[in-house]
Subunit: 183 residues, 2 copies
DNA sequence: CGTTGACGTGTCAATGTTGGAAGGTAAAGT
DNA sequence: ACTTTACCTTCCAACATTGACACGTCAACG
């Protein structure tokens, strides 16, 4: 019995999505991964170049120009657009299944109460710092260009709400732990 | 120049953390991964048994009993406890670097406005459903036993706040998209 | 002219992860 | 007695991911 694979392969779709906006080289894409997508989907150089090769083999992208230093500019094909749409509309998102931070919290009972409170408070600080960083980013970006900017801003808003929530939760948790009955 | 590796290896610490509470077999651990840790850290059978082997080789756990069907019960050793503590107190948590959901949102500009709104509203529904599930879980668990329960509840609270935030954000985003100037 | 820095692509080994198959034992129900 | 269900471990191929390393070019500067 043959079954079609139910792969997620989001790296593939991240590359397709970026190329759907405009053609780019692997180098260009890396810059986008390190800036626009930094808080959404991380990728390394090896992955990006590797994925471009695979996408090219699969006919989802093509080389549209070759520049000075062996630069290859890729563009999405119709098949690629179709794949991207299919992913966006037809594939259910997979919820995050792992969290380093929460795993630690789960085991905080192995530490003394003071240590646990300290940990939770540093979580709160990290969340606050993250929020500042995002706010700074918001000021630094030109929000009036490209189709990515509309949704980019919505994604940024998520990050900000997330960090606010995270900080409040961590402070609440620290209080819970600090003021319990049994030491 | 030799440098110590800066590995995260949270699966290892998830296993250690569970064994720190009480000894267990690989099978027992799997059940815990599928229940207590389901929303925090997913692991497959292969991983758990493989990790137990490595931990055993490294002296962080030992076999304390052998039961009926080749069952091996593992317990954490002092070295294991030390490693767990070190991870909890001395290793900075690594923030989540990837989100399937957010990546989609980032590329929602490839769809029509209606499709985008539909997507965002289904995100809201999913978040609401998740919240219900967590609330049900809260009712089903005995919160008065073991050192895990205190922090387990705190982790659960995180999940609930997270899903509330997620739902509100998705509804807000749908509204933003639905009521913009340019169609 | 020589150096530096940004541009640009490609490959590799080690490790993590997935999903399943294979192989077997004990207990409980019929 | 028989069968189902739960228990329990081990192995593996395929794929994803990381973090380097290797190679080479163009432009600008002093």
């Amino acid at each position: 019995m043959l079954e079609g694979k139910v792969e997620v392969m989001s790296l593939r779709h991240a590359v397709l999505g970026l190329l759907a906006d405009r053609p780019a080289s692997g180098y260009d894409l890396m810059k986008l991964f390190d800036t626009s997508l930094a808080n959404v989907w991380a990728a390394t150089q090896s992955q990006v170049y590797g994925e471009l090769g695979k996408l090219s083999d699969a006919g989802l992208v093509t080389v549209t120009a070759e520049g000075p230093r062996g630069r290859k500019e890729y563009a999405i094909t119709e098949a690629g657009e179709a794949e991207l749409r299919q992913w966006l509309t037809g594939t259910p998102p997979t919820p995050a299944r792992r969290s380093d931070s929460l795993l630690r919290v789960f085991f905080l009972g192995r530490l003394t109460r003071l240590e646990a409170v300290t940990y939770l408070e540093s979580e709160a600080s990290r969340a606050a710092a993250r929020r500042s960083a995002l706010q700074e980013l918001e000021g630094a970006v030109d929000w009036d260009e490209g189709p990515l900017s509309v949704y980019g801003r919505i994604v940024l808003e998520y990050g900000m709400r997330q960090s606010v929530m995270h900080e409040e939760w961590a402070r609440w948790a620290a209080e819970q732990v600090g003021s319990a009955d049994t030491p």
